[in-house]
């Protein structure tokens, strides 16, 4: 099984540790992982701003970089969802469709494809899990409080395999953190308020670490935590599942 490692642009530039943890975590599972070095961005920032017609360059690059792999795995529900829903390239539609079907977010790849049942990670902290919306409601990584259906959560399933980790419960299980891509600057007041409220829920319930399957939500919440001079840390779920390394 050859897996193409899809590292979103902002993770590449600002959170290389998340990329490294993702790579190591997959390697530990015996997967042959390759990072195509000419990748940039999935195009979501433009598309969500109404400029989907400007993502042609990104779309073509993505197909060129990833079409040959058996699976494509990325540590971001949001970027993976964008590819799944919106990757189209004129003249290469068969390749684009194939990619849309074989691109996976990291935690669902671990639970659904690799069927991971145990992990060697140890993380003795009180952890709050932020259910990022695009992963949860878009990729259906977890049950949603709006729907009348039995609860489940793929990220939670994995976190429960980590020794020493105590998962705290939240007052609002799946409220958006307010990052929202360019929303975080175009609607700064509401975005920041949503972030503050989300962070507060974790703090009230005793989290010392906030985790998620999307670094963008965590980047937003980290910005607020650091402004508040809080000692609470954010960690991408890959970093926890991979153990305290990198």
């Amino acid at each position: 099984m050859r897996v193409g490692l899809f590292i979103p642009c902002y993770i590449d530039q600002f959170y290389p540790g998340v990329g490294i943890a993702t790579l190591q975590l997959l390697e530990k599972q015996g997967v042959d992982v390759v990072y195509p070095s000419r990748q940039t961005c999935c195009g979501q920032p433009m598309a969500n701003s109404g400029f989907a017609h400007k993502t042609g360059g990104c779309d073509e690059l993505f197909v060129r970089n990833f079409h040959e792999f058996d699976y494509i795995v990325g540590p971001s529900g949001s970027c993976v969802l964008h590819i799944k829903e919106h990757l189209h390239v004129a003249g290469q539609e068969d390749k684009a469709a194939d990619i849309r079907n074989k691109v996976y977010e990291l935690t669902e790849f671990l639970t659904d494809v690799l069927k991971v049942e145990t992990l060697s990670a140890h993380f003795p902290h009180k952890v709050g899990l932020h259910q990022s919306c695009h992963g949860q409601r878009g990729l259906k990584l977890a049950g949603m409080t709006e729907l009348m259906s039995p609860p489940f959560s793929k990220p939670e399933q994995l976190l429960k395999m980590v020794s020493g980790l105590e998962l705290i419960s939240l007052n609002r299980k799946d409220e958006c953190c307010g990052f929202g891509g360019t929303f975080c600057v175009t609607e700064e007041a509401v975005s920041a308020k949503m972030g503050k409220d989300r962070v507060q829920d974790h703090l009230l319930n005793g989290a010392t670490v906030i985790t998620a399957a999307d670094m963008s939500c965590l980047m937003h919440m980290e910005g607020i935590l650091r402004r508040q001079q809080s000692t609470v840390q954010v960690k991408h779920i890959a970093e926890i599942l991979n153990g305290e390394t990198a």
Binding site: I7, P16, G50, C58, C133, C176, E188, K196
Partner: protein, 461 residues
């Protein structure tokens, strides 16, 4: 209602957020309603199939709207109802005026109707010297405050009870400082009773209109639609033409969903069926298009017309809860309003589809399964293509698209951004950067992942 200069959702939301305690109160009040909705829905084991059924019935309605409307009209006329067709808001308002004038009346009562808000009926009639008293308690409160409703089900949800006490003191003569909800409600009841007894014309909205029988159903919790309609000589029911359902038995689906989704009640206190005028009474129905045909012709947006106006999407929306209904500067606020309004005026409402994080909660609570968040995304594309994007954004997006299409340029740009953040943080950490107002910038790593990979993995291709 004063005409203020244009302010975008973001600008209005910024003002709303100046009082953080109030934002918290607004958010928690509406979250409480959302939780009530969850509890009510959990008591219905077939909730999700009920939503699917309602969605299917509404799809059928939209695909056969012409036939159902014609059938409804035929049945209604047979029932002795006078049916009017209005192409737009102006025609709707003119029809109401002509009926009122014919009866030589200059004052009337009106129960809740978002359609008349959409058509700005009150302002129009007021200019013609005709007084309209809103009889829904929440609507009467915002009317006294000279404000539009901020929520389609809970019109004065943005007002605290003390503010309502002050308003009633000023307008209804209640004792200063009395903010007891029960007392204020009793005062409103007395005040409205006099209006019901003396007004000869009553307007109501329509929640559902049944094509097979020509009857319509109005749902209220206060019975004010009934009080108005039963005491008046003339009853005018105003409805958007998408309110049609095929058969009476379909009410069993929609009435079960509507109020559970709206407020978490099993059903509204009053679900009143109107079929024919009582002897001596005139009953008018105005069927209004006002852009609905245009929306029906937009394949990506037509199913927004399935909306039954429950406002569940408002209550669940984390942006609505923290920006308030008035930030949407349109009669129907919230996520559904943000996909309906651009159909009415793209330029005026170009900001609304961007007032969302696309979290998707709205689509999940919608009782008729409108893909609201997908339509917000699609409206963004349409609005940009139609030229409604700010120049700054156009330039930024073009630059971003160019950089991200070229891996080598992307690497240089990334490196430059990281260098700036670590060596010249003042270039970013300043007032010109909206991110920095309430958040720190990410810390700069020693290298990018790409650089680390090139150094640490030999099988790099």
């Amino acid at each position: 209602m004063t005409n203020t200069a244009y302010q975008s959702h973001a600008e209005r939301a910024t003002i709303f957020n100046e009082d953080e305690a109030r934002v918290n109160w607004h958010d928690e009040t509406l979250w409480w309603v959302r939780q009530k909705r969850d509890r009510a829905a959990h008591l219905i084991p077939e909730w999700e199939s009920l939503r699917e059924l309602a969605s299917g019935i509404k799809d059928n309605v939209l695909s056969n709207l012409h036939d159902y409307l014609v059938s409804f009209e035929e049945q209604a006329i047979q029932n002795g109802v006078q049916v009017h067709w209005a192409a737009d808001a102006a025609e709707h308002n003119a029809i109401v005026l002509s009926i009122v004038k014919r009866h030589g009346v200059n004052r009337m009562v009106k129960s809740k109707s978002m359609l008349t808000e959409e058509c700005h009926l009150n302002a129009f009639l007021s200019e013609q010297g005709i007084e309209v008293i809103d009889t829904d308690l929440g609507e009467r409160i915002v009317q006294l405050a000279e404000e539009p409703p901020s929520h389609i089900v809970l019109p004065c949800i943005h007002k605290k009870k003390e503010e309502i006490g002050d308003l009633f003191h000023e307008h209804l003569g209640t004792p200063a400082g009395n903010a007891d909800p029960q007392f204020l409600t009793a005062a409103a009841r007395l005040h409205l009773r006099e209006k019901f007894l003396t007004r000869r014309v009553a307007i109501t909205g329509v929640n559902f209109a049944v094509a097979e029988t020509g009857e319509f159903v109005v749902c209220t919790n206060e019975g004010n639609a009934d009080m108005g309609a039963h005491l008046a000589d003339v009853h005018i029911a105003c409805m958007g033409m998408e309110k049609i359902i095929p058969q009476r038995r379909h009410l069993g689906v929609f009435l079960r969903l509507l109020t559970r989704s709206a407020t978490g009640q099993p059903i509204t206190t009053y679900s009143s069926h109107f079929r024919k005028p009582r002897p001596g009474q005139e009953l008018h129905i105005i069927l209004v298009d006002n852009g609905r045909s245009r929306q029906l012709g937009r394949p990506d947006f037509r199913n927004s017309l399935k909306c039954i106006r429950c406002a569940a999407c408002f209550n669940t929306c984390p942006v609505y809860r923290r920006s308030g209904g008035h930030s949407y500067h349109t009669a129907i606020a919230g996520p559904i309003g943000s996909i309906l309004a651009p159909n009415l005026d793209m330029k005026e409402y170009a900001d609304l589809p961007f007032a969302s994080t696309l979290c998707g909660s709205c689509s999940n609570v919608c009782p008729v399964k409108i893909d609201i968040h997908d339509q917000l995304y699609k409206w963004r594309q349409v609005l940009v293509q139609e030229g409604h994007a700010p120049l700054v954004k156009k330039v930024a997006m073009a630059g971003m698209a160019f950089t991200l299409s070229l891996p080598s340029l992307y690497k240089i740009a990334g490196k430059a951004a990281r260098w700036t953040l670590s060596h010249a943080p003042f270039a970013v950490n300043n007032k010109l950067n909206p991110w920095y107002k309430n958040r720190e910038m990410p810390q700069v790593p020693a290298s990018s992942f790409g650089e680390w990979y090139a150094k640490n993995r030999t099988k790099n291709k």
